[in-house]
């Protein structure tokens, strides 16, 4: 059906950087972007003149886009992209930057997501999120994403027999993983009992099913293996990627995402199978989306997801190390940077630069993104498989 995508020859991904998150920040998205570029420069030695490609994702930089950021931050790129795709923006930035580098349109592309979280700014960004939300979601109780995902969670639990205990296992494992990550906002141990006893937010979603909105920034560099080597930067190659938007629009409730449309091609292009994955970094705005990705990415069958969760260990030293920095559920959700932290963490584990504990012998990371609830479901999905370069 589809032409097989060309392999990502001559592409190196390197230099994951994370600006430590804070719950609230009086600063702007521009400030967070600048702070992170400075950190990136210190880590890599690249200055403004070196960067010839720039890809930017943010919800709170308005009225500016990537365009305003170039002048604001003194960049003169010959390749520029702005991604409005939130939780899917990390994978999508990688895809676009990789082809730009591979084809010679740019050599050193900085992919960066930055968002601030001022007091009360979350309410305002919710109120103006999308036209369908304004017309047909927020007038119905204004529960924000919690309500949207409560409906998905309710339907998902009924359809596949997944229980709160199953979701709890995912959240508890991610919290355990977060405990070694000094940058995670929530590092206190979480027990299954505490998870189950948490207050309801929008039934069946309870407190520990929800991410904490915060301010922060994430970035990585896509360049050539030669430049990475010359700069002494550990790098990874891209085995395969997929991307899909508005998949399965006829499904009455979202019980699967766009990954399910392209996943066979994904594993075939990557030349590996789910069993070869050393670290899995999936988008985790709510645990139901984690469960959905476990099935849609091919780690288990859709109707066996409950059983798969029950028999798998998701800890850093477990069967399938999952969201090893704690994910957004424990590390925090810094707007669009929440769609980048899976990329930076997946890279860190295979480049042996973890923020916290190292997944033993990690060579291959799979990163998965999910973004933008335009109406009743997440629209944008993507995934990437990365392998450490020798």
């Amino acid at each position: 059906m589809n032409r097989t995508p060309a392999p990502y020859d001559g592409v190196a991904v390197c230099a994951p950087v994370t600006a430590p998150y804070v719950r609230f920040s009086p600063e702007s998205a521009h400030w967070w972007a600048g702070k992170l570029l400075r950190q990136l420069a210190e880590d890599t030695g690249f200055g403004p003149a070196d960067i010839d490609g720039f890809c930017f994702a943010s919800f709170s930089a308005g009225p500016d886009t990537a365009v305003g950021l170039t002048q604001h931050l003194g960049l003169t790129p010959r390749w520029l992209d702005h991604l409005p795709t939130g939780g899917a923006s990390g994978v999508m930035a990688l895809r676009r930057a990789a082809r730009a580098v591979q084809c010679g349109d740019a050599e050193i592309v900085v992919c960066l997501a930055a968002d601030t979280n001022q007091i009360d700014s979350f309410r305002h960004s919710l109120a103006n999120f999308s036209r369908f939300s304004q017309d047909a979601v927020y007038p119905y109780g204004f529960g924000g994403p919690n309500a949207t995902f409560a409906l998905i969670t309710d339907a998902y639990m009924r359809a596949f027999g997944v229980t709160r205990e199953d979701f709890g296992k995912l959240c508890v494992a991610q919290r355990a993983n977060a405990m070694s990550n000094p940058l995670a906002l929530q590092r206190r141990p979480l027990s299954l009992e505490a998870y189950l006893a948490a207050r309801p937010i929008a039934d069946p979603v309870h407190l520990f099913d929800c991410v904490m909105p915060c301010a922060g920034a994430e970035a990585f560099i896509v360049t050539t293996p030669e430049i990475a080597k010359a700069r002494g930067l550990a790098a990874a190659s891209v085995l395969a990627t997929i991307e899909r938007h508005n998949a399965f629009p006829e499904d009455p409730v979202q019980l699967r995402g766009g990954w399910a449309m392209d996943i066979d091609q994904f594993w075939a292009s990557a030349g590996i199978s789910p069993a070869d994955v050393d670290s899995l970094q999936v988008y985790d705005d709510y645990p139901v989306i984690v469960a959905m990705q476990l099935a849609d990415l091919g780690f288990c069958k859709q109707d066996e997801v409950a059983d798969f969760i029950r028999r798998t260990s998701f800890d850093i030293d477990g069967d399938l190390p999952l969201n090893t920095n704690g994910g957004q559920l424990s590390a925090g959700q810094a707007g669009a940077a929440g769609g980048f932290q899976n990329m930076t963490e997946g890279l860190r584990q295979i480049l042996r630069q973890p923020l916290g504990d190292q997944v033993p012998n990690a060579e291959i990371s799979v990163v998965s993104g999910f973004g933008l609830v335009n109406y009743d479901r997440g629209i944008c999905t993507g995934a990437a498989a990365l392998r450490a370069m020798k």
Binding site: F132, Y140, L151, A155
Partner: protein, 404 residues
């Protein structure tokens, strides 16, 4: 007064409760849906090419990119999933938590998020009604498909105007219409009905049994007269929940033929200037109430003029215009402004008019029903319904026909 609940006591120093309304920003397509919801219709956009229905409102068909038009569609549905929202960043919903909502598969095709009635759950069948929320915008409300609907559902109450126990002002209760409205409000359990008596009638002359019912308080009132209006409102002496403007000055006559300037001036004084005075005086009182409403009785002659009642029709047209502006002003306060259109009424003013005519009791029942359903626009009787249908389909043709 034994069976009626005592009136709400008010501490003059108590902090006034802030009234918020549901989030108001909508697309133009959604406003088109709201305009139809105001008429009590259940509509969806349907493609003129592929005939598929779509929701939320779009500007092109998502199946074939054809043109979308609004059509009445069946409102049956099945409930797919549900949630109870317990936290919100929105000030209106924070005042009304917890809030139940869900997702339904409409028989008409699309899926939709809906407000859920307390008697409904997942897998239940539902009848989805298109109602106006407190911000005046259309919203889908899933109700039990059969049997009596429990109107005490706290969410449903937000979409309606309860009458029981409320204080209601009827601007002109001395007419046949006014008396019927007072009676209907009384039967619906209104707590206190302030019945405006148009001078020169005197309160001591009021022997009509309706005006002597429990909870009915006649007061002298001519909305054209600011002093009279202020005095009448000062006698309310407590919260005012609902105003029903029944005042009108019906007289025959054309523009150049059989015209009477004095009558015309009086008609404008009542329908337009009087309306404004009443609205100005009552708006702040209604705005503080949890279910404030202003109902205006208006002639369907307001839509396109009337050769035989030219001055009255013109005054009613002015009233319609003012009503639309007033409705918009009140949106931000959550006060519902309802219009009830009628043709000729079976009363002394329409003595020379042939049937069909609307009985005052029917008109009164329609007013109470409009409140209970939260319906912004109603047409009572065949004449008004026919007038509205013809005006909606071809206003220029209707104006021509109406004035032949």
């Amino acid at each position: 007064m034994t069976e009626r609940s005592p009136r709400e006591k008010r501490d003059p120093l108590a902090r006034k409760k802030a009234r918020h309304v549901s989030p108001a920003t909508r697309s133009r397509a959604m406003h088109a849906m709201s305009a139809r919801a105001a008429q009590g219709r259940f509509v969806l956009q349907v493609c003129t090419d592929c005939d598929k229905a779509t929701y939320p409102p779009r500007d092109a068909c998502p199946y074939c990119w054809g043109e979308l038009v609004w059509q009445d569609r069946p409102n049956g549905a099945e409930i797919l999933c549900e949630t109870i929202i317990r936290t919100s960043t929105d000030l209106y919903f924070r005042d009304h938590l917890p809030w139940r909502m869900g997702k339904v598969a409409l028989d008409a095709g699309p899926v939709a998020l809906v407000h859920l009635h307390q008697d409904l759950g997942v897998n239940d069948r539902a009848a989805v009604r298109l109602m106006l929320d407190r911000g005046g915008n259309a919203a889908l409300f899933a109700l039990p498909p059969t049997g009596e609907i429990d109107m005490t559902d706290p969410q449903l109450r937000e979409f309606t105007v309860p009458v029981a126990g409320k204080t209601v002002l009827v601007s002109d209760a001395s007419s046949a219409i006014g008396l019927a409205v007072v009676k209907a409000l009384h039967d619906a359990g209104a707590g206190l009905i302030i019945a405006g008596m148009l001078p020169p009638e005197r309160l001591t002359d009021q022997k009509h049994p309706i005006l002597n019912l429990d909870g009915v308080q006649p007061v002298p009132l001519d909305i054209v007269d600011q002093v009279s209006l202020s005095e009448a409102l000062s006698k309310v002496g407590g919260p005012l929940d609902i105003v029903i403007n029944t005042a009108r000055h019906v007289r025959g006559g054309g523009v150049s033929e059989q015209a009477n300037i004095v009558e015309q001036r009086r008609a404008f004084d009542v329908s337009a200037i009087g309306f404004t005075r009443l609205a100005q005086a009552c708006a702040p009182m209604l705005a503080g109430r949890s279910h404030g409403a202003f109902v205006d009785l208006i002639s369907s002659d307001a839509l396109a003029g009337a050769t035989d009642n030219a001055a009255f029709a013109a005054a009613e047209a002015a009233r319609l215009s003012l009503l639309q502006s007033f409705r918009h002003e009140m949106r931000s306060t959550g006060v519902r402004v309802l219009s009830v259109f009628t043709g000729p009424v079976e009363d002394e003013h329409h003595q020379p008019v042939p049937p069909p005519k609307v009985a005052p009791a029917r008109l009164a029942a329609a007013i109470v029903d409009a409140l209970h359903q939260g319906r912004e626009q109603s047409c009572v009787g065949d004449v008004a319904s026919d007038a509205m249908a013809r005006w909606l389909s071809d206003p220029m043709l209707y104006a021509r026909e109406k004035n032949l």
